[in-house]
Symmetry: none
Subunit: 142 residues, 4 copies
C-alpha cells in the first residue's frame, strides 16, 4: 500500500511543530507538501512574520524538490561551493537555509515540512518536531 501525506497526516505534523514553536517562543509559519511538492496544509501562528508565509512554503517545496533538509543546501550554495546560485532557480522558490525537512515513509521521500519564524536553527528544530510526529496515511484514507 502506498504511503502518503493525507491532510490528517499533515495536520498532525503541523500540530507537533506548533507545540515546539510555542515551547521555544518562536511564532512560526508551518507548511506541509506532498510527494508532488504541492501544498497540503499551512498555518501562520499569531505574531509570526508575514515574510515567513512564503519562506515556510518554499522550504517545504525545497526539501521535497531535492529530497534533503534545506540545511544541507546551506553549505553547498555558499560562494565558491558547487551549488552557489541555486536559490535563483525554480522561480526563486529554493531556500538555502535551515527549516525544511523531508517526510519519509518506507525509505522514500513522500513530502516535506517547512518552518520559518526564528533563526534557521530554531526553524530546523520546529520542523524536526513535525517530522517526528509524521505518520503517513494510506491510499485508503483518500
Amino acid at each position: 500500500m502506498s504511503q502518503k501525506v493525507t491532510v490528517a497526516a499533515a495536520q498532525k505534523v503541523i500540530e507537533a511543530s506548533r507545540r515546539h514553536a510555542e515551547k521555544i517562543a518562536v511564532p512560526s509559519c508551518i507548511a506541509v507538501v506532498d510527494a508532488g511538492a504541492n501544498l497540503v496544509a499551512f498555518i501562520r501562528m499569531d505574531g509570526a512574520w508575514l515574510g515567513s508565509i512564503d519562506i515556510a512554503q518554499d522550504k517545504a517545496f525545497t526539501a521535497r524538490a531535492f529530497d534533503m533538509p534545506t540545511k544541507e543546501l546551506a553549505r553547498s550554495s555558499q560562494p565558491g561551493q558547487p551549488l552557489f546560485g541555486i536559490n535563483a532557480s525554480n522561480e526563486g522558490r529554493v531556500v538555502i537555509f535551515a527549516g525544511g525537512i523531508p517526510l519519509i515513509a518506507d525509505g522514500r521521500v513522500v513530502g516535506a515540512v517547512g518552518c520559518s519564524g526564528g533563526t534557521p536553527d530554531q526553524d530546523h528544530e520546529v520542523a524536526e518536531a513535525g517530522v517526528m510526529a509524521f505518520v503517513p496515511g494510506g491510499e485508503a484514507g483518500r
Copy 2:
C-alpha cells in the same frame, strides 16, 4: 478591543467549511486570510484538485481585497460590464467566481475565507459554512 483573525479563529472557520464540504462530498481546498489579505491557514482535503490550491487562496485574497464575496465580482466582470478584465490585475490573483467571502467583526471586514473544489455555488456554500463559524480572536489572543 480589536477583533482579528487569529490562527485559532482561522482553524475553526476551516473546520466548519471542511465539515460542510464532506457533507456535500466536495473535496475542497480552504484558505483563510487576515485583514492584511495575508494567509493565516490552509488545508487541501484528500482528493481535492491540485488546481484549487491557488484558487482557494486567491478567492480569500479577492474577497478581502475588495471587501465583497467573489460571487459579486462575477457579474461586473463579464464582457461589456464595468470591471471586465479585472481578473488579470493583482498578478492574476483576482478570482471572479463564487467561493470567497469576507469575514466580518463589529461591522468591519477583518479577513476572508476562500474555497475551491466544486462548482462555484458549492464553493460558496462551503465558504459560507466557515463564515458562520467565525468568532474573531481578541488582541489578547496574540
Copy 3:
C-alpha cells in the same frame, strides 16, 4: 501496487501522440506530467510553433490540476458561465481549450498529457492517441 507515470510510460504516450500528429500532419508539442502535475517528458516536433512549448505543458498541467480534459473547461469558462476567468488563476497556467487529457490507472488520475500545434480539436485527437497508449509503470520501476 501503486501505478505511476514513469519516464518509460511517458515516452510511450508521447510516441503514440507523435505518430498521430504525423499522420494528420500537425507538428506538435507534446508534454506528459505525473500525479503531482510535474513534467516527466516533452518533445517539440520539427516545425511546431514555439508558442506551443508552454501551451502543451500547461494543458498537461491543467488536465491533472482539475482531473478533466481541458476541453471541458472550454465550455464552463465562457463569458457568463460559472468558471469565466479561471484561466488567470494558477499563474496563468490554466488552459481552457482542448488538448489536455488526464492519464488514468485503476480509476484514479495519475498524470496527464498535453498537446499543442493544431486546432484544439486536432490537439485533443493527438492527446487521445497518447492516452490510448498509456500503460502505467509500477513502483518497482522507480
Copy 4:
C-alpha cells in the same frame, strides 16, 4: 545546408546522456534546446529530483544564451568577480554551475544540453555524453 537541433537529434542526445546517467547511477533531468534557446526535448528519469526539472532546462538555456558551458560561468559569477549577480538576470533562468553545454555544428553553436540530478561535476559528465552523441539534422529533416 543549415545544421540544426531536430527533435530526432535532440532525442539521440538525451538517450546518450541518460545511458551515462544510468551508468553512474545519477537519476537526472535532461533538456535540449535549439539555436533559439527554445526547448526541443526533455526527460525526467525515474527518481530524479523535482527541483531538477527547472534547473536542467535553465542550464540548457544558459549554455545557449551565453554560448559557453555553464561551468565557466561559475568562476566569473563569484562575489568580487565580473559577473557576480548574473544568475538573477533573465528571470532567474541563468544557472551558474556545471551541467549545461552548447551543441556545436560547423563551428557554430546551434543549441545546448542541460543536465541536473547529481553534483555539478556529474551533471557536466552526463551532459558531455549527450554532446558527444550529437549529430545535427539538416533542413531537409524539417
